[in-house]
Structure formats: structure tokens, C-alpha cells
């Protein structure tokens, strides 16, 4: 073997030099592939720019017909009446209220589930529970929508008869249920990435498991936890199907959660699904509302990025 190996070494080297010397197809590929990949990356960027451009152009057209001030301060939205009014506040109000209800449900449950999974559950239980939680995230939102309308609303009405058949409370709760896995999963990731040595430090000072969790682990994982909340809010703001189905289409400007309200997304569904002719004010209002929605979710995502950098406790 020792005597052969030398010969073989020489042959392999020769082969490699020979191959190198040839201008092969693979060398051309090496140069072309990055260009192809770049153009695919460019497609996604151009699409985004294109969408924003369209939104902007049509929104500007809308503001030529309806003053921007009236749009953002108007509390009445009556797009189809003889004397149409385009105040966006009922929609913003509906969006915020449904998101707040969703977060009141998803926040506490999500974080408690995360604490259990990260700090208390045994490996075995975690291995079973976490995938199940993630299945919940895979349910189509339309299913959640009729779950809200056909199950949760009647349930709430049997306890609280004042609640209307279409109301903001029921879809708010169901959106919360939908967001739980997201918050639980992301917060659990943030907590389990806190090193055990830090937990040991707390235990060695005589801290209980609860004290260690709340005074060491959660503060150390806070950036991830807050980011998961903000992404949850962002998801609630953008959610469409559940509110469209279960909250009706009354454009009420109210804080009464038993009433029907419309969110920005549900308005877009209603108008786009109706027969708003191109060029009408209603048609342009679609873009103005979509633009507002886009700004909302964009701000939330920027906030999530900012928070996860700002509050990072280094370990």
C-alpha cells in the first residue's frame, strides 16, 4: 500500500491539473449561476416595489377626491350611500379592538404555555406538545372563521345574550386562539436559548424555580418574547377571513365589543368582492385602506426588529 500510494497521488494530481486546464462547462456555470440567482432575488424586490407603487398611485388618486384629513379623522364610513363618506376611523377602530381582544387571549395563554414548555415540562412532554401546538398554527383561517361564527358566537350568546349575531368579540377571541401557537413557540425558543448556567446561578442562591423563571429567565429572554407579541399583533391586524365571516360588515364606530364592526381587511374583502367599478371613489378607497393597513403592519414589523435589538440582554 505504501509503495502504491505515491504513484496514485501523482496520478490524481495529474488528473486534477488536466481537468483544470480544460475550459469546462462547469466554469461557465460558476459565473452564470450567481447572475441567475440574483435575478430571482430581484423579482421579489421588484414585486414589492411594484405593489407599493400601485398602492401609492391609486391612494394619491383617492386623496384627490377625498381630502386626506377627512379620511383619517372621519368617523363615518358610508361608501355606498347617496352622499358617500369615507372616514377610515371605524375600520381602524375595528382593527385595533379585534387585535386587542386577540392579544388579551393569546398573550397570557401563549406566554404561560411557553413558560411551561421551556421551564417545567420534561423532554418527553415537550417533544409531544410542541409539534401539536404547531399543528394549531397550520389550520386554515377560514376554518377558524366558521368556528367563530358557528360555535364561539352561539356559545358567547348563551352566556351573554346582549351579544349580537355578528360581533367583534367572537372573532377577536378566535384570532387569539389562532395566534397562541405563534407566541408560545417563539417565546419558548427565546426562553430555551437562555443558557442553563444562568439558571444554575439562580438556583445556587436559593431561588425557587418560579423565582428563577420570572426574575432571571424571562428578563433574559425579554427581547424574543416582546418580538413574538409584536409579530402576534401584526398577524392579528392582517387577519382577514375570521373577521369577515364572524364580525359582519357594519361600519360602526363604537367601543362596544358586543356589536358588529368592520376591520380594514374585511372592508377590502367586501369592496373587492362587490361590484365597485374601476375609477369610482369606492374603488380607490380600497387602495387607501390597503395603504393604511400596509403602514400599520410595516410599523409593527419595524418595531419588532427594533425591540429585539434594543432589549437584548447579552449572555
Amino acid at each position: 500500500m505504501a509503495s502504491n500510494s505515491h504513484n496514485e497521488d501523482v496520478r490524481v494530481r495529474d488528473l486534477i491539473t488536466e481537468k483544470r486546464a480544460k475550459k469546462s462547462i462547469s466554469q461557465i456555470f460558476e459565473k452564470i449561476i450567481p447572475i441567475i440567482l440574483f435575478s430571482f432575488a430581484l423579482i421579489t424586490i421588484l414585486t414589492t416595489i411594484g405593489i407599493i407603487y400601485t398602492l401609492l398611485v391609486e391612494t394619491i388618486e383617492f386623496f384627490k377626491r377625498v381630502p386626506i384629513w377627512d379620511f383619517f379623522t372621519g368617523t363615518v364610513l358610508r361608501p355606498l350611500s347617496q352622499d358617500p363618506q369615507f372616514g377610515v376611523l371605524p375600520l381602524i377602530n375595528g382593527t385595533i379592538i379585534s387585535s386587542v381582544i386577540a392579544m388579551l387571549v393569546a398573550g397570557p395563554i401563549g406566554i404561560m404555555a411557553a413558560i411551561y414548555l421551556s421551564e417545567y415540562a420534561s423532554d418527553k412532554i415537550r417533544r409531544v406538545l410542541k409539534p401539536m401546538l404547531e399543528v394549531l398554527a397550520g389550520i386554515p383561517t377560514i376554518v377558524y372563521g366558521f368556528f367563530a361564527f358557528t360555535f364561539v358566537t352561539p356559545l358567547i350568546r348563551s352566556i351573554w345574550p346582549d351579544v349580537e349575531a355578528t360581533n367583534i368579540l367572537s372573532p377577536g377571541i378566535v384570532m387569539g386562539i389562532m395566534i397562541i401557537p405563534m407566541i408560545a413557540s417563539l417565546s419558548e425558543d427565546a426562553m430555551s436559548s437562555v443558557p442553563n448556567s444562568i439558571r444554575d446561578g439562580a438556583y445556587a442562591l436559593g431561588a425557587t424555580r418560579l423565582e428563577t423563571t420570572f426574575k432571571v429567565v424571562i428578563p433574559a429572554a425579554l427581547s424574543g418574547i416582546i418580538a413574538s407579541f409584536i409579530l402576534g399583533i401584526s398577524r392579528a391586524i392582517g387577519e382577514t377571513m375570521i373577521v369577515t365571516i364572524a364580525s359582519g360588515s357594519s361600519k360602526n364606530f363604537t367601543f362596544d365589543i358586543t356589536e358588529s364592526m368592520q376591520t380594514m381587511t374585511a372592508y377590502i374583502v367586501e369592496v373587492a368582492g362587490g361590484d365597485a367599478g374601476a375609477g369610482t371613489t369606492i374603488y380607490y378607497s380600497l387602495y387607501a385602506v390597503a395603504m393604511t393597513l400596509f403602514v400599520f403592519t410595516l410599523l409593527m414589523n419595524l418595531l419588532a426588529r427594533y425591540v429585539s435589538r434594543k432589549f437584548r440582554e447579552e449572555y
Binding site: 442562591l205 436559593g206 426574575k215
Partner: protein, 275 residues
């Protein structure tokens, strides 16, 4: 690592050693027939050991000999491993610490611990030191300030950090972080401090600072230190226990153990023939 000579060596004579030791300080920890398993692995076998008050006890031995496991049994940190099983007796000042009725949180306030790698909390220097006092219910700002200053002075760190107590502890050097962890332990005024290879992650200068500190802490605390470094054990400790394969091979005054060991295995280990 060849340890084939193990069977040839004479049986240890622990009782006589214990007799000799009893002349000195009071006993803090009395370990009798301690056995410990991780699942099916028998990690500590029939360990008998007396630890004396206000002394530095060093525990030496090759990797995997059970020395860290023994140390973690003394504050029951070992129970954080889910598969662990313990039998035998450990008393702390005549109280059975393995008894269910002995609250583990109370034990850990009496028996503090410093770890191999510095593990400060991702908080300010001040909050790190005040943490223990805070969880045990001390809220008064003045008292906390005093505890922080006293503990940092006790850990020989005060002069280096007094102007930046609000800064994050992770901005400190490794050696400073380790002294911060010692300060954090001192802050709850324990009786005993367990140190699990506290200098193994540090450079020589930081190591000598910590060793110096350990010597001064001896006045007020009983210290048990696990170390890989035999020179360190010889330099700083009063007594040394040599662990091998989960058993205590030899336990004696440090000068005696390093100059004239009773057991062939101890001699082989301290002269560097294995380990």
C-alpha cells in the same frame, strides 16, 4: 489511562484518618456511605468524608471521578439531573440535608456555589450582587447598597467596579466576572462556599487573584474547592481528598497527602503517572 494497579493497593483505612482529623475544627459536613447513580452509572461509591469548618478542602482526581458530583450533592444541585438517585447520609451541622423536610432553597442560602465558568446574570453589576438578597425579601435600597458594597469588597472587586455598578456584568473580564460571582454568593452570607473548578476558565493572573481571595475568605467561610490543578490544591488547601472512579481513595491534611501519601494510587496521580 491505565489503572490496572488498582487491585494491588491496600485497603484504605478511613477510620484512623478520621480519628486524626477530629482534633481540629468543628465538622460542617459529615458524609456517610454516600452512593449516587446517574441512571445506571454508579457515580459515587460509599463516600465517607468529614469537611471541617473554616478550612479549605480541596477535592482532586481525574475527569469523571465524581468530584464535581460530590460537590453538587452538598447543595443538592445534583438533583437538577432528572435521572439521579442518591442513598446514604450527609449531615450539615448535624442536620440531614438529604431529608425531604430539609428545604433545598434554605440549604442553598447556607451553602453557596461558584461555578466552573463565570455565570453572571445578564444584568448590571449591582443587580447581580443584589439578586440573592432581593429574592430572599430584602427590598430596602439602603441595605441593598450596603450589601452590594460589602460583598464586592469581600470579593476584592469593589475598587475596580465602584464607578460602573449600573453597567452590564458581561462587560467585565472573565476573572472579574468570576469574582462578581463570588461577590454574588457572599451577598447572602452563606457558611460554606462550594467552588467547582473556579479558575479553570481563567488566565494565570486572574487565577492567582482568585486564589489569594480564597485564602482571605477562609477566615469567615468553609470552602470546598474542586480542582484539576494539583499545584492549586497544594498551594491553597488545608485538606485534600483524592477521588478515583467515584471512591475516596485518600483524604488527609494537604501537606501529608502531597508529601507522603498512604495509597499507591494517590502517589501515582500526584506524581502525574496518570490522570
Amino acid at each position: 489511562m491505565s489503572i490496572s494497579f488498582v487491585t494491588e493497593t491496600p485497603k484504605k483505612e478511613l477510620p484512623s484518618i478520621h480519628e486524626a482529623n477530629k482534633q481540629s475544627n468543628q465538622v460542617v459536613f459529615d458524609t456517610k456511605q454516600l452512593n449516587l447513580w446517574y441512571g445506571d452509572t454508579h457515580a459515587l461509591k460509599e463516600v465517607d468524608l468529614l469537611i471541617y469548618e473554616k478550612e479549605i478542602t480541596a477535592i482532586i482526581g481525574p475527569s469523571g471521578c465524581g468530584k464535581s458530583t460530590y460537590l453538587k450533592t452538598l447543595n443538592r444541585m445534583v438533583e437538577l439531573v432528572p435521572t439521579v438517585k442518591i442513598s446514604g447520609n450527609i449531615t450539615y451541622k448535624n442536620k440531614d440535608i438529604l431529608d425531604r423536610s430539609f428545604k433545598v432553597e434554605e440549604l442553598r442560602t447556607l451553602v453557596g456555589m461558584v461555578f466552573q465558568k463565570p455565570n453572571p446574570f445578564p444584568k448590571s453589576i449591582y443587580d447581580n450582587v443584589a439578586y440573592g438578597a432581593k429574592i430572599h425579601g430584602i427590598r430596602n435600597k439602603k441595605i441593598l447598597d450596603e450589601i452590594v458594597e460589602r460583598s464586592l469588597k469581600g470579593a476584592a472587586l469593589w475598587d475596580e467596579v465602584k464607578d460602573r455598578l449600573k453597567e452590564n456584568a458581561y462587560g467585565l473580564s472573565g476573572g472579574q466576572q468570576q469574582r462578581l460571582c463570588i461577590a454574588r454568593t457572599l451577598a447572602i452570607e452563606p457558611d460554606v462556599i462550594l467552588m467547582d473548578e473556579p479558575t479553570s476558565a481563567l488566565d494565570p493572573i486572574s487565577t492567582s487573584k482568585i486564589e489569594e481571595l480564597i485564602q482571605t475568605l477562609k477566615k469567615d467561610y468553609s470552602i470546598i474547592i474542586v480542582t484539576h490543578n494539583m499545584q492549586q490544591a497544594a498551594r491553597i488547601s488545608d485538606r485534600t481528598a483524592f477521588f478515583l472512579n467515584g471512591e475516596v481513595v485518600e483524604y488527609d491534611k494537604t501537606e501529608k497527602l502531597f508529601s507522603n501519601p498512604n495509597d499507591k494510587r494517590t502517589e501515582d496521580y500526584i506524581t502525574g503517572r496518570f490522570g
